[in-house]
């Protein structure tokens, strides 16, 4: 047992910290810190900065321009990045599609798509969920019918995050309608500029169109865009879902949120007393901090096992559930901390592209929208109910 990082890991942390300090643009940092929405250009800028340093793809092989960091290194990077309010890089191409291409794609596909993820030419989004399917991903209805050297795709995807900015989508499509539920599904890459693709934004409870519906009407997709074998898509989808879950606990995000919360509680007054000195509020913050301290170690235990090659099982689900609970609690506390100043809806200020002034103190404008937005954490990526079932099945085997 040893809670200390190795010298090499400490040096790596210093290097990351230094780079972030020198590279992260102040405006970008402020947007993230204040919970503003990032414009497309903001995200592209951050990707290009990471790419210039060679740090955009932590988990890819170096041969394809990745860092090949182990789980501990990735953890350190994420921790440092969150601490200074760096944006998160977008996972759709980097850590969702790429591992599938690396494991199941053809070399042609890797050569064609991976560099374009790095240089920003392709912005990927995910076409998994469909209306009425929810956490039951295998209930895919979108049809792809082979016609010569094309597939013709018809159907609809939903909950496609940031699909409004994307130019490519990876999709689960049904290629054999007669096969059993999990069979007959294929994994297809679709250029969203193809005629017949329509994107309709869905405004969420926080007032923002973060997700989208994507419609396919007789969309012709070259057969070379099929990943792996036809009708084996469910295997690849499951691989994607279980892969890359080391940051599932969101410890870095929660640490950043806790920092913000303490900052606010040290400035906002209630009944003439700083909120940080209000025993009830301080107790809730402390409770969350204590839970987070323990979860950070739970996370490191899993990370450290993963770095030694052990595959996390139900632990991922535990981290997902507890990580969600803590992060949602912190956003709830931050909202409550703002008092009446959490009331106004300020879309103009929150818009990453605008310079509108905010009503109320720092962090007030984003407090309620962030709280509402973060309700998604316990729903997406396998709802917490699904995770709880996974945990118990693993233990009870019933």
């Amino acid at each position: 047992m040893d809670l200390n990082y190795t010298k090499e890991e400490q040096a790596f942390r210093t290097e990351v910290r230094q780079w972030l300090k020198e590279t992260l643009p102040r405006e970008l940092r402020e947007k993230v810190r204040l919970g503003k929405r990032l414009a497309k250009a903001d995200m592209e800028l951050w990707h290009s900065l990471l790419n210039a340093r060679g740090w955009l793809a932590p988990n890819w092989p170096q041969a394809y321009g990745g860092c090949e960091w182990n789980a501990v290194q990735r953890h350190i990077f994420e921790e440092e990045a969150c601490l200074v309010h760096a944006p998160r890089s977008l996972p759709f191409g980097l850590s969702m599609l790429a591992p599938v291409l690396l494991a199941f794609g053809s070399e042609d596909q890797r050569q064609r798509f991976l560099p374009r993820i790095l240089n920003g030419q392709h912005w990927w989004c995910q076409g998994y969920s469909e209306p009425g399917a929810g956490s039951d991903l295998a209930a895919v209805k979108t049809r792809a019918v082979r016609e010569g050297d094309h597939y013709v795709v018809n159907g609809q995807k939903t909950w496609t995050t940031l699909g409004q900015h994307a130019n490519w989508i990876f999709c689960l499509v049904r290629t054999d309608p007669d096969a059993k539920k999990q069979e007959g599904i294929s994994f297809l890459l679709i250029d969203m500029q193809t005629p017949g693709v329509t994107v309709r934004p869905i405004v969420l409870i926080d007032g923002e169109p973060e997700v989208n519906e994507v419609f396919f009407e007789n969309v012709r997709v070259p057969a070379e865009n099929l990943v792996g074998e036809e009708n084996k898509g469910w295997t690849y989808a499951k691989y994607l879902l279980t892969h890359e879950r080391t940051n599932i606990a969101g410890v870095g995000f929660s640490n950043a949120l806790l920092t913000t919360l303490k900052h606010v509680a040290g400035r906002v007054k209630s009944g003439g007393q700083l909120l940080a000195e209000n025993p009830h509020f301080a107790a809730r913050m402390a409770q969350a901090e204590i839970d987070l301290m323990a979860m950070a170690t739970t996370n490191l235990r899993v990370v450290s096992a993963a770095a030694k090659g052990q595959a996390p099982g139900a632990e991922s689900s535990m981290l997902k559930v507890k990580g969600t609970v803590i992060r949602q609690e912190l956003t709830s506390l931050l909202r409550r901390a703002m008092g009446p100043d959490a009331l106004p809806f300020q879309p103009d200020f929150l818009d990453g592209g605008s310079n509108a002034a905010a009503l109320g103190p720092d962090h007030a404008a984003a407090a309620a929208p962030t709280y509402f937005n973060m309700r998604k954490l316990s729903i997406f990526g396998g709802s917490n109910e699904v995770q709880r079932t996974i945990i118990t099945k693993a233990i009870l085997g019933l």
């Binding site: 405004v203 309620a368 109910e385």
Partner: protein, 376 residues
């Protein structure tokens, strides 16, 4: 002991519920909130015609209600339908004018009941958080005039109001209990600037700047420097209203979720068959009943001595805050993604429930007040 509604109240409730079910669809409400109008003037006039505003006042105030249970009946329906029209101002500013006003001032009450006038309460200030006594806006005599200076924040329905009932300090320091007066301020008085916005839940609100606003003595509501007690009593009535509104919103969110659990199938069966959801639903139903009881306790004790009223107000607001968060969060979670979309009515109820916790003291604030009252 009787927990049944009087015939009059049952009739008002039924009429109002029918009217809102008919006119107040989620689509209409979404369109209204997306528009630049603070609220729908036509609906507001119809609400007045149905007697909704009259029910906020006693007979000696030219109304036909005014008791706690009248507020409860009306606001439960307001919450159930997600009404954003200015009924609450009739309780808050309207209630203060009716309670403190002289004959001339009280003419406004008739206009409020008729739905032709909106008076908004401007009690909030930056840094005051939920404390009614934290007033930095000044009211200083200048010859025959009284001059108001200050910024009032979170003025609910300030955009769309014709008159403000503003708290301002005539003497003392920022947090003193004494020295606060209430003033009737027509929004078109020189020096008044109303900057409107919408809250997260679609309710219109405003920041109001009072910059050398010159009023006469006739604008003062009640005795000079003694406004706090009446303000606190009016806010207790307002708390009854928004607690009942939250109850209505909980009922609506609950009903949507029950339907969804029955209809929505996943893994081959209605998700309502999953026992984990069933048991959480059971706990939620229990809390909604608890919320109803808390509102009944407050409504039934509104005319009791000040401390009794305050204890029930704080108990209710605390419980409603906790139950509201539970209902909003659990209903969204049981729905999954669809529950998070603006298109679906649940998101409206969830936002309203959440924002009600930020009005006139959240559950923590009222827990502390409850403790202080019980100790004192």
């Amino acid at each position: 002991m009787d927990f049944n509604l009087t015939e009059e109240r049952a009739m008002l409730r039924d009429t109002l519920r029918r009217f809102l079910a008919d006119k107040y669809s989620h689509e209409n409400r979404r369109a209204l909130i997306a528009s630049s109008e603070p609220y729908d003037a036509e609906i507001y006039a119809e609400l007045a015609e149905l007697g909704v505003l009259g029910a906020m006042f006693r007979e000696d105030q030219d109304g036909f209600g005014g008791e706690g249970f009248d507020l409860m009946v009306v606001f439960e329906e307001v919450g159930r339908a997600g009404v954003i029209e200015p009924v609450l101002p009739a309780v808050l500013a309207g209630g203060l004018i009716a309670a403190l006003g002289n004959d001339r001032q009280r003419e406004l009450v008739d206009e409020i009941i008729a739905g032709t006038h909106v008076a908004a309460l401007a009690q909030g200030e930056a840094g005051a958080r939920y404390d009614l006594n934290h007033v930095e806006t000044t009211a200083v005599a200048d010859g025959d005039a009284i001059v108001l200076n200050g910024i009032k924040t979170h003025v609910l329905y300030g955009a769309g109001a014709q008159t403000l009932v503003a708290s301002a300090r005539e003497t003392g320091a920022a947090a003193d209990m004494a020295g606060i007066s209430l003033f009737l301020v027509p929004v078109n008085t020189p020096g008044v600037t109303v900057n409107g916005h919408r809250n997260m839940d679609g309710i219109p609100s405003a920041t109001v700047t009072l910059d050398g606003v010159r009023l006469t003595d006739a604008a003062r509501l009640g005795a000079a420097g003694e406004g706090l007690d009446a303000l606190e009593a009016a806010v207790a009535r307002g708390l009854t209203a928004i607690c009942a509104e939250a109850l209505g919103a909980m009922e609506a969110a609950k009903d949507l979720t029950i339907s969804y659990l029955k209809e929505r199938k996943q893994f081959g069966m209605p998700i309502g068959k999953f026992q984990a959801l069933q048991h959480r639903m059971a706990d939620m139903l229990i809390e909604v009943e608890q919320a109803r009881s808390a509102v009944i306790n407050l409504a039934g004790n509104l005319d009791q001595p000040r401390d009794v009223r305050k204890i029930h107000a704080s108990a209710a607001k605390n419980l409603i805050g906790r139950a509201g968060a539970l209902v909003a969060e659990e209903c969204i979670q049981m729905h999954g993604g669809i529950g998070m979309t603006d298109e679906y009515a649940l998101s409206h109820f969830a936002r309203r429930l959440t924002m009600i916790d930020h009005l006139f003291g959240d559950s923590d604030y009222h827990l502390e007040r409850f403790i202080a009252l019980k100790a004192g």
